[in-house]
């Protein structure tokens, strides 16, 4: 077991623990002071923001002194102390973890700051800030865990907080049911995840520190060569992928995330940009050697789950009218890109993790930006979410819509912005992978079409929201929100614009883990520029349909008939899950189990209970209160024991 004694604690270890402990401790603190004082309620937002900021500073402290200097030359530090049996508890920090920690704390900080304005008038805002603080703390703990069991605990904490926050306005029936749906759907994934962890544990429990992330990253080849086939590993990987599908909302478990838009917009921003959905991507990246050494179908499953989701969510995004749901489908689609980039790694090696993570960070910036600008719009428009009731907002709230414009351009991957460097790199990567292995062709194709779809739905939303004439009273009277909400928008816009500059640096910092240099793609120039051409084409399509109204989208919808209906109904997945599986199949099963429970289980339990009660009444009578009886019972006991002994030894 890797047990560091307490002497090994240095300032980095303490900082790493504090990164997630500070926001977690903020949770009871804010709840208490908010409950007992009105001032406490007022400063709850500032407290939460400060807590996250401390986490950010600490992450930066570890990053900037980033030699990770337990042992010179190592790119990680690992501190564990024993917990249950051979399971440990601690922090594992490497470039992957610290990148995530920086992203999570930084973006969360900006979102919290925005929320000070956004949630300012809510009577329960101390509850909100306590919960988001715990949410962020849970995510930071997940990122820094040294052990998959600890990881799983924080994973569940994040799930719980998302449930609480999506249902924060619990008096809205939609919000309550959306929270329930999010919780149940991710639970399905979590069952698969826990099965995957069980398989992994079964494979590694003979090693002295099973399920520790350090071991999983270094000793997988050793474990395979020692006893197990890579089939077991592939099964474990596939099961864990089920958990990823739940958390990171990949097909077919993506159905919860559009409904989760019922929560406050800042919660959506947190879930989509920083704290929740990236956890699944991070998990795959964290235990990447499993997919690398497993049978190739596990990796292909990762790839095609990602690529297919990227395509599927893109198509639905085009027909949705709720501004937040469009962004939700866009998140699902972009997460698909990240997962696909990880999947390509089975062909190209583990340095593709860097590509995936770069897109993850860029996506965090742009998605936080888009959600916060959408949040400003909703804040000023009194929660009108239908884009058909907006329109002409660029003139009314110029800063917000400009920020949204930058976010939209970044999302579609327009050249000088960060999205271009992150997303087109993934598409090129998949083509490069196809050159090595023809099985990757359709992944590249789906991702390519996904880029086109991204452009269409993003700019459909943008054109309808920003251009034209205001289509409602609220839209006519909109104006820019207060400064506390503007500053995060500006910061995030800046990051979205300039972050592309750091592409090579990011890959290099990242690939230090694997001691690999950045790849050079040896692919034809027209393939490299194909995504950009499709983006331009998509912009043209969106302009023709939604800005100039030269073409009428309704005509197209009517002509395409059945296809439109399928997409409009989200491929009938909700119908399948709710109406068929839940209401037809599960209800019958539930009735059956209820009958068993009521007549068999309850019967046994109650029967046993009655027997115990009768026994209890009977035993009480031994306790007469008369001391002579006690002595007699004692001596009788002695004699009984002696008789037993004599029977046992068989004579005297």
């Amino acid at each position: 077991m890797v047990i560091n004694s307490l002497i090994n604690i240095n300032q980095y270890v303490i900082a790493a623990f504090l990164i997630f402990l500070v926001p977690v401790i903020m949770f009871p603190l804010i709840l208490l002071i908010g409950k007992f004082s009105e001032t406490g309620k007022r400063i709850s937002g500032i407290l939460a923001t400060t807590g996250i900021f401390i986490s950010f500073i600490l992450s930066w402290f570890i990053y900037s002194n980033g030699t990770f200097s337990f042992n010179p030359g190592d790119y990680y530090f690992n501190f564990e102390f024993p917990w249950f049996g051979n399971i440990t508890w601690g922090v594992f920090v490497d470039p992957l973890a610290i990148t995530m920690a920086l992203m999570v704390s930084g973006v969360s900080f900006l979102i919290h700051m925005f929320a000070i304005g956004y949630m300012g008038k809510d009577p329960n805002k101390h509850v909100y800030f306590a919960e988001t603080s715990l949410f962020t703390g849970g995510m930071l703990g997940l990122v820094l865990s040294a052990n998959l069991v600890m990881f799983f605990l924080f994973w569940e904490l994040v799930g719980l907080c998302s449930y609480l926050l999506i249902g924060f306005w619990y008096f809205k029936p939609n919000a309550a049911s959306a929270a329930k749906k999010a919780f149940i759907v991710t639970r399905v994934g979590d069952v698969l995840l826990i099965l995957g962890l069980a398989v992994l544990y079964w494979m590694t429990f003979s090693s002295n520190d099973p399920l520790s992330i350090y071991n999983l990253n270094t000793q997988i080849p050793l474990i395979i060569s020692r006893m197990h086939s890579n089939l077991d590993l592939a099964i474990a990987g596939a099961l864990i992928l089920g958990g990823v599908a739940g958390k990171s909302s990949q097909f077919p478990l993506h159905v919860w995330i559009p409904d989760a838009m019922e929560g406050p917009t800042t919660v959506s921003a947190l879930i989509h940009a920083a704290t929740m959905v990236t956890a699944g991507i991070y998990l795959v990246a964290r235990i990447y050697p499993i997919y690398l050494y497993a049978l190739p179908w596990a990796g292909l499953l990762v790839l095609y789950m990602g690529a297919f989701t990227a395509f599927l969510a893109g198509t639905i995004g085009i027909v949705v009218n709720d501004v937040k749901r469009i962004l939700a489908y866009s998140t699902i689609s972009q997460l698909g890109y990240m997962l696909a980039a990880l999947g390509v790694g089975i062909v190209l090696g583990e340095s593709t993790v860097g590509y995936s993570l770069y897109h993850l960070v860029v996506h965090a910036f742009l998605k936080a930006l888009l959600f916060l600008s959408a949040g400003s719009i909703l804040f000023m428009l009194l929660d009108v979410r239908d884009i058909r009731k907006m329109g002409g907002l660029w003139k009314k709230m110029p800063i917000t819509i400009s920020a949204m414009f930058i976010g939209a351009l970044t999302l579609i991957g327009f050249p000088p912005l960060a999205g271009y460097f992150s997303k087109d790199a993934i598409i090129s990567l998949s083509y490069y992978g196809y050159l090595h292995n023809t099985a990757l062709f359709w992944a590249w194709f789906l991702l390519l079409i996904g880029a086109f779809l991204t452009t269409v739905y993003t700019f459909r939303m943008f054109f309808v929201v920003a251009l034209g004439k205001p289509k409602s009273y609220a839209a006519e009277n909109a104006k820019d929100p207060p400064w506390v909400m503007i500053i995060p928008l500006i910061v995030l816009s800046g990051l979205s614009i300039i972050y592309g500059l750091f592409q090579t640096d990011f890959y290099n910092f990242f690939n230090g883990v694997y001691q690999m240099t950045t790849m050079h793609f040896d692919i034809p120039w027209y393939i490299e520029w194909l995504p950009f051409i499709l983006v331009l084409f998509g912009l043209l399509v969106a302009y023709l349909f939604y800005a100039s109204y030269k073409l009428n989208p309704d005509t197209v919808a009517r002509k395409s008939g059945i296809f439109y209906r399928i997409v409009k109904n989200k491929y009938y997945l909700d119908v399948l899950f709710t109406n068929i599986i839940a209401e037809r199949f599960m209800v019958i099963l539930a009735k059956l189990f209820y009958a068993i429970d009521k007549y068999v289980v309850d019967g046994i339990v109650n029967g046993v209970g009655i027997i115990f009660r009768i026994l209890s009444e009977y035993f009480r009578k031994i306790q007469t209160g008369i001391v002579q009886y006690y002595a007699a019972i004692m001596l009788a006991g002695l004699i009984a024991i002696l008789i037993t002994v004599f029977i046992l030894i068989g004579g005297i």
Partner: protein, 476 residues
């Protein structure tokens, strides 16, 4: 030698406290209380220091006593509960209470010598010293109820002393020595096994194992709760450690009589202990189900806990049982630590009711959350711990005990323990239900000091519970 004297400091200090209290009779009550509590507190700190410095090579032995790391491990528990028991004596309305302040440190000292004895003579003397001082404590203050408790305890105690003496004499006849740890051959197998059975019965009375348990219910219920907290924890753990010292050091021997099945000394004892522990657990838990008096329920649950503790003797099954001693000390230490904190804390919570309303039924506790939220939440935590709900210390104690059993192929015995644990949840949670979901019926007066003590116990039960795996790994 100075080194050894330093390690003797805790017990020397407590001895000084006793002597000074006896020699200065004109002191007033406050001084006596101060000296008693301070003496116990400092010796608690010193024994903690001995443990934390973790000098396991420290070991001194004579013909009568073996004093080692483990002695202080358990003495720490005794003085821990002794301290709080002594602190909460201040509620007792009695003209001359100072004698009880002397008796508590005296019984602690006797317990210390009892668990460190390696010779039946010194063991008997110190065991009796501990017993007699607790007989007197049980009769405090002079009321009909407490006197009855004390007399019952005394009568059964006298009987069991007789049995122990008989066992000791058979032991001497069969082995030619009084020593527990160095027996050079046994000349009469029947007498030897008979003496061990008599010792089992005699000390099993103190541990309140099944057929010898009746006194415990009446005594724990009748005595003052603060005394019960000492009786049901320290005195019981003392008996358990004595039994571990005796039975894990017995001479390994095959029965000379039976030709086809060869039972051994330890083989016979392990069967006895398993039967007794199963009966004790079931008896304690099932009888507690229908109790409406919370204090009596706690008394029955302490009998059930004695059953859990006795399960550890199933390890006698292995012929190499002597090698288990360090593991057993460790597991029993964690279990006893949990037991002391939660059972002692629960009885001290009862003291809060005893002192003012004289009655501790469920009705007295109902609606406690509205009258005294701190006491209610602390008592709830302690009850959760007794029921063995995960983050608490009670869970950890049971976990390591059952884990040890499972690791040594007694999974079925551990299963019986788990079933019993499940039964016990019913009566513990009923109390919680009464405290939180029923309306208050009786007024109680608040005692802030006691509330704080119970709160401290609850906090310890959670914090140490979380840290237990770490403690286990550094001590194991």
């Amino acid at each position: 030698m100075v080194y050894y004297y330093f390690y003797m400091a805790p017990i020397i200090l407590i001895l000084f406290a006793i002597i000074s209290m006896i020699l200065i009779p004109f002191m007033n009550k406050k001084w006596i209380m101060g000296i008693s509590s301070t003496g116990i507190f400092i010796s608690l700190l010193l024994s903690m220091y001995v443990i934390i410095t973790d000098n396991r090579s420290f070991y001194t032995s004579s013909d009568f006593f073996t004093i080692s790391y483990y002695t202080y491990l358990f003495f720490m528990l005794f003085s821990f509960i002794g301290l709080f028991s002594s602190l909460s004596l201040r509620n007792v309305k009695e003209r001359d209470v100072s004698i009880y302040y002397i008796l508590i440190p005296f019984s602690l000292m006797a317990m210390y010598f009892a668990i460190s004895s390696n010779n039946l003579i010194s063991l008997f003397v110190s065991f009796e010293a501990a017993s007699i001082s607790t007989y007197a404590l049980a009769g405090m203050p002079k009321e009909k109820r407490t006197l009855e408790a004390s007399i019952k305890y005394f009568v059964i105690g006298a009987l069991s002393s007789g049995i122990i003496l008989l066992g000791i004499s058979y032991y001497y006849i069969s082995t030619d020595t009084f020593s527990i740890i160095s027996v050079n051959g046994v000349n009469n197998f029947s007498l030897y096994i008979l003496s061990l059975v008599l010792l089992l019965v005699g000390f099993g009375f103190k541990l309140s194992l099944f057929p010898f348990h009746n006194w415990a219910v009446d005594t724990y219920t009748g005595a003052r709760a603060t005394v019960s907290s000492l009786l049901s924890t320290a005195s019981k753990i003392m008996a358990l450690i004595i039994m571990i010292n005796i039975f894990f050091n017995i001479q390994y021997m095959k029965t000379p009589y039976s030709s086809h099945i060869h039972f051994t000394t330890n083989g016979i004892l392990y069967i006895l202990f398993i039967i007794i522990s199963i009966l004790t657990m079931f008896y304690g838990n099932i009888t507690a189900l229908m109790q409406r008096d919370v204090k009596r329920m706690l008394a029955y649950s302490s009998i059930a806990n004695a059953g859990y503790m006795a399960m550890i003797f199933s390890l006698l099954y292995y012929d190499s049982y002597k090698t288990f001693i360090p593991l057993i000390y460790l597991v029993i230490f964690i279990f006893s630590l949990a037991y002391v904190i939660m059972k002692g804390g629960s009885f001290l919570a009862m003291e809060n009711f005893e002192a003012y309303s004289k009655s501790t039924t469920l009705d007295d506790l109902s609606g406690l959350s509205k009258r005294s939220p701190i006491l209610a939440i602390s008592f709830t935590v302690l009850l959760f711990s007794l029921a063995g709900i995960p983050p608490t210390l009670g869970f950890m104690g049971k976990f390591y005990l059952f884990y040890t059993l499972v690791e040594n192929n007694f999974w079925w015995l551990a299963l019986i323990g788990v079933i019993n644990s499940a039964i016990s949840v019913y009566y513990y949670f009923r109390v919680v239900m009464y405290m939180y979901w029923k309306e208050p019926r009786v007024e109680i007066k608040k005692d802030t000091l006691l509330e704080m003590v119970v709160l401290l116990m609850a906090i310890l039960a959670v914090i140490i519970g979380i840290l237990t795996p770490y403690i286990y790994s550094i001590m194991g």
